[in-house]
Amino acid sequence: MSEPLSKIPSGMRYYFGQEARLRRAVEDAVVSVFTGWSYEEITTPSVDYYALFERGMGREEAHRAVRFMDGDGRLLALRPDMTSSVARAAATLFAERPRPLRFCYAAPVFRQQPHSHAEWRRESTQLGCELIGPGGAAADMEVLAIAVEVLAKLGLWQHCSITLNSVEVFNGIAEGLALDPAARDEMRRLIDMRDAAELGRFLTPRTSSATERAAFGRLTQLSGKRETLHQARRVITNKRSTNALDELEQLWKMIEALNLTDRFEIDLGDVLELDYYTGLVFRIYISGAGTRVGRGGRYDSLTANFGRTEPAIGFVLDLEALTDVLAKTDSAFAGESNKPNEVVPLACDDEARLLVEATERRRRGERIRIDFASES
């Protein structure tokens, strides 16, 4: 029995017409912001060794890659992620270049078995940028400022929320509880799901201190503005976590100075992220999209996999998710991208002359359309 050729694999789709125009306009707008901040476009191999992604993203995420065998038996993957490959280039190809390195990209990635039933696509386009070399709050803020400018340019600033956290807050707590990797993942999952009830049950055999249990249970609820950090300090006292809280506070001061606090939230319950993040993590949500449309963070140890340890931070936006929201919400940006250009229709019995006129008009930059005689 053969499949009909009309069938399209699940998770794949077409873009055409108005939607394709909008998608192109979004991509151009976002990339123009990246280049405005001096981020250089980079294209990475679409197919790479699976081991690269397993190292880069962690096993669980890398497992979602579409994998196949190379001629020599080594495992290849359609890239599920851009950052792993960019980090490798930074540590190898560009090892000798002066820092900072600034890279941006607009490229499709491929993943199967989505986390959420709402993320059904197996191909999605990542619009992203990476800043490699500098660490600290100023570098964090540069990348956040780019995200803010992108959202403003798309007319989405008033409809978005960016949540901030540091993975070190959780790491400090997990270290204090001496959790094995499986238990650590389980605790991270429960906090991420904000499941205070199950988290309490999880912690009971692991810590005898009721105060500690209550404190960590609060992690699922701690979100808000600057006061969140003060509340967190009252219940979390280990050195590693408090250092992370200090760093978040420093970043928050910059956000205050830029007058951006309206759309930013500190959310200490946001802990389920790729293994490569080492400090700040952030997620971008937009009204009208049921899932997050962007995420980013600091990954200071990723390049160490390739022989050179250095600070790095970056973020990605999902082009298709942005396009969907803009199309669905009758946004000004979508209206602008759909403005019809004036078309000069050309029709003539003498086909030789017709094409002479067509090429002349094109040279003048006009938009033309040839109407063949048989159509009319």
Partner: protein, 219 residues
């Protein structure tokens, strides 16, 4: 003004969920419920309730069509839905258990255990962790019949009182986990509509605590 859409699992969960909502100060008109409408608004017109099949609750919430939902933990475990679960509502309490007609035969005697269930993912995960090879037979109802008629060696099902099991000659040999009604929230709504979601969670939490205090401790 409408603030949140809440998907509620139809059936037994629905009545208990609405009773809990009422205790939290969210009233839904009886007449509206009695009608066959699938979406009703509460008295304050801030919340819209939609009533859908239990398995569909996480679907609506994951897609953000509903901001919140009320559904059993059994459904969430089975679907692996990517939703936030901030509150155990303590309603519709039951267990997910393994039951069989021949409790005297240990499962290690089976080279392949045939398991009938409405919860293929939960069952596969449970026996997978135990290293028992299984053939999962997915049924959509009256699961208790399967071992009686010889379709399966055991079942994985939701057990409330255990009466149906007993009447069909089955006994529980293992409890996998407990299930109660949960409040679930869409990830984006949790952030973008925090001003509405956080008070809802707080009010429901108060109501849940009140009920827990009223219940005799022997329960």
């Amino acid at each position: 003004m409408l603030e949140l859409t809440i998907a509620v699992a139809k059936g037994r969960m629905q009545d208990q969920a609405l009773a809990l909502m009422e205790r939290a100060g969210i009233r839904v008109d009886e007449a509206a419920l009695a009608s066959r409408r699938l979406a009703v608004t509460d008295a304050s017109e801030r919340y819209r309730f939609v009533f859908v099949k239990p398995a569909d609750v996480p679907v609506y919430v994951e897609h953000g069509i509903a901001d919140c939902g009320v559904v059993g933990r059994d459904v969430l475990l089975e679907s692996g839905a990517d939703v936030l679960q901030p509150l155990d509502l303590g309603i519709s309490r039951c267990r997910i258990a393994v039951a069989t007609t021949h409790p005297e035969i240990p499962f290690s005697e089976f080279g392949m255990l045939r398991v009938a269930t409405k919860y293929p993912n939960i069952a596969a995960k449970h026996f997978g962790a135990l290293g028992i090879p299984v053939e999962i037979i997915e049924l959509s109802g009256s699961v208790e019949l399967a071992p009686v008629l010889g379709l399966a060696d055991c079942i994985v099902d939701l057990v409330e009182t255990g009466r149906t099991l007993a009447e069909n000659g089955l006994s529980i040999v293992e409890e996998i986990t407990e299930s109660t009604g949960r409040l679930v929230v869409n990830r984006a709504s949790y952030q973008l509509k925090a001003a509405s979601v956080a008070p809802l969670i707080a009010r429901l939490n108060e109501a849940v605590n009140e009920i827990a205090l009223e219940k005799p401790s022997s329960d």
